[in-house]
């Protein structure tokens, strides 16, 4: 059964490798972005009442920098997803119909491609980047010493929550992709999706900084599990019980969103307006 999806798994892996130059440029862009944030946080902690030793909303300066670095790496490895664009292209070219008659599910195809991309990225970039980041950060004393064997439990939960994050991202991309049936174009929906995720997942700013009410609501939403929770698990800021709870919430959301997406897709297909005839 799973064999049918193998070509797509491969395609996802190939796309990821295709442009070495892009990856270099991405690294440059990212270093600039991270540097900008580091200077901002430096100014913030310097300006705080307690100076550089301040702990703001549970984060010391060093933890904050670690958080910024690790969310960036996490985003690069995990959110490598073109599901929304592919659906948009299929809609514009009117090729969605072709998939409805093939013996593979439209949803399954994208999930396989995304997983292929996640596996390649993790193997090729994720492992060295995480290892380097963790070693450097704990070497500088930005992170507590990697206390074994407790670290392995966190690492395992981190990988699990990373997988959940990738699946959540793919599912949400798919839902927004299906919404393209209604707007006929993907530009707007894509930027809406990106904005939502970067703000609500804690990528832009840890959710601890948000007002209490909003924070409570967000802790039960699927977004925190897409960036903040995995990174805090890896940083061992969460104990095992909290970590398990996060993974459970993510898993529950994957199931719920998949069901929602299924319903949405069959509704959308019924009103397919093929473009271009």
């Amino acid at each position: 059964m799973l064999k049918r999806y193998k070509p797509f798994l491969r395609a996802g892996a190939m796309d990821t490798l295709a442009f070495r130059f892009n990856i270099l440029m991405w690294a440059l862009i990212t270093v600039c972005e991270v540097a900008c944030l580091v200077f901002l946080w430096l100014a913030v902690y310097r300006s705080s009442v307690d100076g550089m030793d301040a702990v703001i909303h549970g984060f010391s300066f060093r933890e904050m920098i670690s958080y910024v670095v690790l969310t960036t790496v996490f985003g690069f490895v995990t959110f490598n997803n073109s599901t929304l664009w592919n659906i948009n292209t299929d809609i514009k070219k009117g090729t969605v119909g072709n998939y409805l008659i093939k013996p593979i599910s439209y949803r399954g195809k994208f999930a396989a491609t995304s997983l292929g991309s996640l596996l390649t990225m993790t193997a090729l970039f994720g492992l060295p980047l995480y290892a380097a980041a963790l070693l450097v950060l704990s070497g500088l004393g930005f992170l507590p010493d990697l206390a074994f064997p407790g670290f392995f439990a966190h690492l395992g939960l981190f990988l699990l929550s990373g997988l959940c994050a990738s699946l959540l991202n793919d599912t949400i991309s798919y839902v927004f992709g299906v919404l393209c049936f209604y707007t006929s174009s993907g530009w707007g929906l894509n930027s809406l999706k990106e904005t939502l995720i970067s703000f609500l997942s804690g990528t832009l700013l840890p959710l601890a900084f948000f007002p209490a009410g909003l924070r409570d609501v967000l802790s039960w939403m699927p977004f925190a599990g897409m960036s903040q929770d995995p990174v805090l698990i890896l940083m061992m800021k969460y104990d095992l019980a909290t970590s398990l709870r996060c993974v459970a919430v993510s898993a529950a959301w994957i199931v719920a969103l998949e069901l929602f997406a299924k319903g949405l897709f069959s509704r959308a297909v019924r009103k397919v307006t093929v473009q271009g005839g």
Partner: protein
């Protein structure tokens, strides 16, 4: 005169295309709006935790942030097609039509897209400036207002020039989108007061990629009277003239290298 008329004809066409996807345009406009609100909210949440940022109060930081949106928004309105040139059109050989017409290619790229999303940024920026300004206690001189206007308008010229020059490199390397992105993203640095950066970065942001020159320095001039507004205006206009001339030069040189795809 001919080109003014032609420009409006093309822009009318661009807006018509956009209106074909009304729902998407509405979603795009609101998501842009929303995205700006999110960044602002994040900044607000951070500043809640501290008394002031490097000596700047909350409304002052907000003013920087809001003002930085103006030149970016103006650039966004008129030159969005260059992103596509840098990322896709040259690589896919999709510039052929521009080269088959008896009108300069750069003009056609400008005229291909008018991006109404820029208005969203403009509105948020002006609103933020207004709110923050009402909470400030500074004496506003004519010179300060003048240098802010110059910074917004000629700053847009500088951003557009950088965009033109960077996307022109696609004619040589087939794809220059990421490079354009690197340069363009430095505008993010100018959202905050220059005081939070180390000296070399400040120098970079004033003399090399001059986002600081036309965003941070004019705002500093308003808040603290740090610079002579008329001299600063002159510097910004001169800088814009140099950047624009360089951009046109780079573009015309690179444009000759364009080749369609083989088959």
């Amino acid at each position: 005169m001919r080109y003014v008329h032609l420009y409006f004809t093309c822009i009318r066409r661009s807006i018509l295309s956009r209106l074909e996807y009304k729902k998407d345009t509405i979603v795009a406009l609101s998501s842009f709006f929303f995205s700006n609100l999110c960044s602002l909210a994040a900044l607000y949440f951070i500043l809640q935790a501290i008394p002031a940022l490097a000596g700047y109060s909350l409304p002052e930081v907000g003013f920087f942030y809001g003002f930085s949106m103006l030149p970016i928004a103006l650039d966004h309105l008129f030159s969005d097609e260059f992103w596509l040139v840098a990322y896709r059109r040259v690589q896919e050989g999709d510039m052929d039509m521009f080269f088959l017409r008896p009108v300069p290619v750069m003009f056609q790229v400008f005229a291909e897209t008018f991006q109404p999303e820029g208005f969203g940024e403009l509105i948020v920026g002006v609103a933020l400036i207004s709110v923050c300004a009402s909470q400030l206690t500074v004496t506003v001189s004519i010179g300060a207002v003048a240098v802010l206007c110059v910074g917004a308008v000629f700053g847009a010229v500088i951003i557009t020039s950088l965009k033109v020059a960077m996307s022109a490199l696609a004619f040589i390397f087939k794809r220059s989108g990421p490079l354009l992105q690197v340069v363009y993203n430095f505008s993010a640095y100018a959202k905050y007061p220059l005081a939070i950066y180390p000296a070399f970065l400040r120098a970079l942001l004033i003399f090399v990629l001059p986002f600081g020159l036309f965003i941070s320095l004019p705002v500093d001039t308003l808040l603290t009277g740090s610079h002579d507004p008329w001299l600063l205006s002159l510097a910004i206009i001169g800088c814009a003239a140099v950047f624009f001339a360089l951009a046109v030069w780079v573009w015309t040189r690179c444009e000759r290298r364009y080749e369609s795809t083989g088959s």
